[in-house]
Symmetry: C2
Subunit: 161 residues, 2 copies
């Protein structure tokens, strides 16, 4: 794909980016999990400061993939980058688009002199794990992600009024 272009998101891409997000949710069997809309995305992508950064892979005017990331902070190392989503539309997988997006994110982190790049992977996704290990990434087997969702956050807040 020599004509593929990796570039920052623009306002005209928001609809395609939301489609990619929804495609991933359907693939992960959670079609109703996507609660944000184009307006929310716009506000967060182009705010001052933005809530996230996004690179898109464009090929002949079509958006085929995206990488969405933002800064985090490690109290041991300093400012880092978190890769939240790396999505390639199903029809165009296995053609190096994901790799190109992933490496563009690594270059971005290096240019910004960040101390770490972090993301999550499903423990059964061996092909992804093998891919990440080629970059000498470390998989932390004993850490677990914990989340308190909006509903339970509200319940807590109301109960402690």
């Amino acid at each position: 794909m020599q004509e593929m272009n990796i570039r920052p998101i623009q306002k005209k891409d928001l609809c395609d980016v939301l489609d990619l997000i929804k495609e991933l949710a359907v693939y992960e069997k959670e079609p109703d999990a996507v609660e944000i809309d184009e307006q929310d995305l716009a506000k967060s992508a182009f705010g001052d400061p933005p809530d996230f950064y996004c690179l898109v892979a464009e090929f002949k005017g079509q958006i085929l993939g995206m990488a969405l990331f933002y800064h985090r902070f490690s109290t041991w190392k300093g400012k880092s980058l978190h890769l939240e989503d790396l999505i390639v539309t199903q029809k165009y997988r296995q053609q190096g688009i994901g790799k190109a997006l992933f490496e563009a994110v690594l270059h971005e982190a290096h240019q910004q002199k960040l101390k770490r790049v972090e993301w999550v992977v499903l423990d059964w996704n061996q092909s992804a794990i093998d891919f990440y290990k080629k970059y000498q990434a470390t998989i932390f087997d004993d850490w677990r992600t914990v989340q308190l969702d909006e509903e339970n956050l509200k319940k807590f807040a109301n109960a402690s009024l």
Copy 2:
């Protein structure tokens, strides 16, 4: 501890906050892992925008604990809060300081109308897991944290020049 005060970090607290960060690193048997210094912390805590927010627990002029957090972004839910560190100095544990800090963070997330609060826990830390479950938090057993550290990020960037 009725006289305990939970409040945002101030410049005068930076040394105590760094001491807490280092105390945790020693406790986790990684005393040399803390690479940041007071100046880095100051730049990130009081930047515009700051890289993180921090609440401290103060008792009779002493800083006994801290909660450090920042925003993240979920492409399904929207803007969320990540709790990076919750530290109480060893001598003052089991007195409700950690709970007070944790709940102050939840209140902050609720006031900001954030969609989720997220953090990580070690899978063998059953007392912490039990504590979080009281708030109806979800532990994700099949997600693994992946990190590419600064050294390997540099190696990648240099190899692809």
